[in-house]
Symmetry: D2
Subunit: 345 residues, 4 copies
């Protein structure tokens, strides 16, 4: 197969570095361009010592990129800075955007949560939400993918099929989510210092996190009516991993077993989604992998169920799913470069 | 004031060591006896190197203790082994039991959750549940205190006043709790090795943890009717701390502000309970202290609220509350030896 | 005893916060002023949530301090900014400087290592190096204390007596030191993010760390001749603690036992220095305490010994020793507010 | 190429699991047998949840293995139990032993350090020490490989070439080594609980660790005379990684540059050994990889140098080097299944 020539815009953040790690294993991909405006001119090994031995091109400024010989662009810029950049890309490149800038279908909702008007509303219409297992057909023919957020991936994969099949009620869904610290990015912030995070934990963005509308968009689409969820993220002293604990009410006449059957059936042939039987999912199972592992449990409260899902926020929650989407868009086997076993311990 | 002469039964576990740490600062307490059957004969410094320089008595077997000159016994034995030991203690000693053996009023509930008949049902009637702030009057005159569990302390302190004042509904309470690893004790178990815990997390005891009936006992008592809760504990890669995120439904006509006022009023004069305003509670705030810090937040879902509380599971969740109860029982100022500032970072 | 009225200059860093933690337990000290220029006006609880419940004064700008009613000043400013500030303090206040600005007797050595001329060379002559156990007599009557660095404290306490008594050779001393991350301060730096530090380690400042001349100054003074050491610090994924592993050559005819006897004798009556027998020192033993624990071990290489010492870098390595020095200067019992047991686990 | 059929004896420990992780990526290897006596009969996913989705055979007892269709045996049993097992294997299988049982050429040295007579002295003569880069030619034709220890790998790779070329003195070598906790294995020991390790560190086996004679064997062979080293290992709160800091004396007339040139030349064409220029090696660079990264630094003490090397103790320090050796023995490209990028963060 013809090798895809890759540009990573914003390669100096964690999702950029993780894309590099995965792409280096890809037989049909070649990293041609890495941008990083504040680090332009530096070898990658100065920015990421663990990539020092990989023979990668130096970082260049975004403005210096010639897209003529580029086939696929991964955009890893911060939220809010991406719409204009992507609007300026030539039409022949496939684009996978890892920011939140094209995830919300409704540009009004975007403006409300992100604090400024959407800068590329026409492109928004074209963007396909890249939750691969549930939107694969659209992704195949897409030019611009809005790669899902980490929390939304962990919550939508189990909840959307259950809502679609009317097995759980759409109201009273509680999503209590816990994330590793890579989710906060690589910017130097006092709050994210080792000393501030180590050996302790807290909740943040209680009742106001930007991933709530993204989750609700998917759940609403699945249920056919507007869904609002209770969603609280927490910061856990670990590098990678999201664990979402979800409390749901069974629809009239439905049981835990019905839920398990639905998820088993939905994901039976999916290499990256595993429904566990006994052992509760652990983030250790997915570290460094593109897996989502989920389990369904009986609550003590009659008529309620507890669902737990885990992903690696940098892989299935970001760069891995981005690469999975590239594989789908380019007609490569979907698992290409994504079948490593979790690094444990 | 007369010094209380103290015996700690089962001093070789974490709650025993934590009691020692706190008692060493107590001007009216003197540690006379430390038992530890499997470690009997050893200096404390061999079992706990951080206690090597404290001039403590060697560990002795339980059977060797003479209680004649003992005023207060802290019992730190594992669940299920304590009832018979305490039944055998002389009547002049005050007893504070840190196990679960006397926490459930109903011995049938005990038998169901702990897998064997209660071995001291008469003593059970005498035992006072030691959630100090809410049962202080009874504690003052008690001889036997059932010191609360760590999860129950973190959940009951905020929820009981709200239920008592009918500000939240008694059904549909979700308690998503996260604990440091000291909660699992000091036994050598593969699952609790550093390598198995570090840099990852998981839920456990989903829908079946033994602290659920203890929590429900308190909430039921507060609300005047039987309460069942959704309760999921999680193991977090940190040593100390419990953070409970609680999702509740506001009672008809009640608001977030009503809840805050209630908690502020309830705990206004309590030195160990703090209701925060803005910053979400963090376990870092309570490490090494007897504090419970709690906050109330608006949920996005109309009519719902999110409550977060944190404690140090070894202090307010175990040994600190035990000492607080001793202070109450002995007529000492309640804060004696308990006013250290959190160790941060 | 009369309460000392305290000002902490630069209270928003980790050593400032640690001083607050310790001073809050001190019966003869009262915190009157906390400065923090970038955070001026804020309640301490906004800067340090774990100090939110302590009834402390708000942070003020340095320029706003009136020293009339201040007895003792702790200066916690960064290296290089302190000389001028201290030179401007009125003569009635006792000063304990936690920076490196007055530690090196020779202002030329200072200029070489810190990159600028010393700005208060006269004051330098007055400053007393505050390694309490070894300079106690001078400290008693000092007005300005240069509080020792963390690595130098851990290395000088065991090595200086051995050199003074000619038990080890002054050449070929290797000090391999490992530190927790609080040693790097609270500034927002990418390199100190949780994600960059967690689950890995590295050496830094190899052959060029600024604590080398400070260590050598003490060792030279003890040995009576110029000493140069091999010194390599390492950053360890933990919050607190320094462990120094020191490789030394026994002087002709001396043995491991001679070394042990010397240290035992030197520190027999010192409450904050412990010479262990069997169990190798662990930073867990000293977390949150003012202790230095040390041990001497036979090397396999004939004629060589290995010495291990541990301290809490924020306590004996900074704020605890500063308070110990204040106790000495003010005639308080030296252990006042410093006798807590280590927080373990 | 013909697929090698693999048996892993003792697959339930960390080195076994790590071999599985790597072999699953190997195009010319097929895992046929996994033994684990205490876990026999269980699916791998019960013993290692992160391997639950890999389609591996269940664990079987060692006694049940039929070696007829096995080409390569990896032996991951504990030290001391391996000699008899390997002596009983049929002659057609290639064997790579990850224990220490065949590492010491001299069976008397073995007996002294491991406390019992060597049980297969004839096999010992046949065993080839598997430090791949330095013994590659012998490994090619070997039937039994003694795979090196983790500390010895990290120390011998930089020191052996320097000794061989007489660039450093053979006496006064100090090796201060720091290891992640996976080096301690998966046995349930109180000392290795998360709570006992987290946020602290200590030295162990001071002057008496069993890897000392293994290191000295290699260094002696390289220098042509008997070498004794000062060697102190430390336990660091991280899962993977060894960092060795080595203090050496330059041979007469040699410089730091000479050392660097020697290492650069020795390892120029080696894919798994990297000599860094500026940035000090970090264990983060090698996590999950078969790399050894090393650097040479000037000491402040004239005539001395500091060398730092890092490896992942489970990969280059165990299972990765084992697989590298299999590749050499079987004539596969040496990097097969070993070219992943480090997992960072």
């Amino acid at each position: 197969m013809k090798k895809q020539r890759i540009a990573i815009i914003g390669a100096s953040g964690y999702t950029g570095a993780e894309l590099i790690r995965l792409l280096l294993l890809h037989p049909y991909a070649e990293i041609k361009v890495l941008t990083g405006d504040s680090q332009a001119g530096k070898p990658v090994g100065e920015v990421y010592p663990h990539l020092a031995f990989s023979g990668l091109p130096n970082l260049v400024p975004l403005s210096a990129v010639d897209y003529t010989d580029i086939d696929v662009v991964f955009c890893c810029l911060p939220h809010g800075t991406t719409q204009e950049v992507i609007a300026g890309l030539p039409s022949h490149v496939k684009i996978i955007d890892l920011s939140a800038d094209f995830r919300l279908y409704d540009t009004k909702t975007y403006a409300k949560w992100y604090g400024h008007e959407h800068k590329a509303p026409d492109l928004q219409k074209e963007a396909v939400y890249g939750l691969t297992e549930l939107y694969r057909d659209k992704i195949k023919s897409a030019r611009l993918i809005a790669n899902p957020g980490c929390y939304p991936t962990s919550a939508q994969l189990p909840l959307m099929p259950l809502l679609e099949h009317k097995l759980i009620n759409a109201d009273s869904i509680v999503i209590d989510a816990k994330s590793g610290v890579t989710g906060a990015g690589r910017s130097a912030k006092q709050a994210n210092l080792f000393t501030e995070i180590n050996d302790g934990m807290s909740a943040y963005g209680i009742g106001s996190h930007r991933h709530a509308p993204e989750i609700e968009q998917g759940l609403s689409q699945a249920s056919g009516a507007e869904v609002i969820v209770s969603f609280t993220p927490h910061l856990i002293p670990m590098n990678r991993g999201i664990l979402s604990t979800m409390y749901v009410t069974l629809a009239q006449g439905k049981t835990i077993e019905t839920l398990k059957e639905c998820l088993n059936k939905t994901y039976r042939d999916e290499p990256f989604v595993q429904v566990t039987k006994n052992i509760p999912p652990s983030t250790h199972q997915v570290r460094g992998t593109n897996l989502c592992v989920m389990g369904v449990y009986a609550d003590r409260v009659p008529g309620k169920a507890i669902i737990v899902s885990v992903i690696d926020n940098l892989v299935k929650g970001a760069s891995g799913q981005a690469l999975q989407n590239m594989n789908v868009m380019c007609g490569f086997p979907e698992t290409t470069a994504l079948m490593q076993t979790a690094l444990f311990p």
